[in-house]
């Protein structure tokens, strides 16, 4: 069991927050270029294929760069 873990784990210290932000940057770039190319908003599937990132990762990544919502106005000012 310990071996599976060692095999799969490359002890990469990258933090989740950083990798999500990098993905979000790629997603937004792909969104812009696909919008020009297709002449319409791309759907999630098209973006996923263009940058080879599962839809699941796209959802998590977009959240990482979410604009502050109104809840911040009262709670974090």
């Amino acid at each position: 069991i310990g071996e599976i873990r060692r095999f799969l784990r490359d002890d990469n210290p990258v933090k989740v927050s950083r990798s999500l932000k990098e993905n979000a940057y790629k997603i937004n770039k792909a969104r812009d270029s696909l919008t020009k190319e297709l002449g319409r908003e791309p759907n999630l599937q098209e973006i996923s294929e263009a940058i080879d990132l599962p839809v699941e990762e796209i959802i998590s990544s977009l959240e990482a760069v979410q604009l502050p919502t109104s809840i911040h106005e009262t709670l974090y000012q």
Binding site: E41, P54, E56, E73
Partner: protein
């Protein structure tokens, strides 16, 4: 004729601000089972955030002891999101939904405006001291159910 539910989830969480993002991401994951644009997805996320933050800020007056319930239902051509709290309730619903109306002078009173502009239908049920239920519907014509995401 009743519509066929394709998928249904229920999420319950304690009323702390961290969970606004969590609720938003869960609903986004559900919505992404339909074939949507990022625009549609963002609109659904903003509307969900506004309803969930209202439950936390107004319903439970920012106290972390409350439970917020979120029910998401996916139909062939629409998504329905219910946000339920058992908080203070709303005295006058039509007034609360007016643009710029707020009971908190530090806020802008635009939450319901966002919900109404981003969703096709916004229904509010509320009873003083019993809580509030907001039902948000967005039609996603031609979206079609996608193949399994997992």
């Amino acid at each position: 004729m009743d519509k066929i539910v394709r998928n249904q989830i229920k999420l319950e969480f304690i009323s702390i601000p961290e969970n606004v993002g969590l609720a938003r991401i869960t609903i986004a994951a559900l919505a992404s089972q339909l074939d949507l644009t990022l625009n549609d997805l963002e609109e659904i996320k903003v509307a969900t955030s506004e309803a969930v933050s209202n439950a936390i800020i107004h319903g439970y007056r920012n106290k972390p002891a409350g439970i917020v319930k979120l029910i998401g239902s996916l139909y062939e051509d629409s998504i329905v999101i219910e946000v339920i709290d058992e908080g203070v309730g709303i005295a006058d619903i039509p007034q609360a939904m007016q643009p710029a109306f707020t009971t908190d002078p530090e806020r802008m009173g635009l939450g319901f405006v966002f919900m109404q502009s981003f969703m096709d239908e916004v229904k509010v049920e509320s009873e003083i001291n019993n809580g509030t239920r907001v039902i948000l519907t967005k039609k996603l014509e031609g979206a079609g159910i996608q193949k399994a995401v997992s």
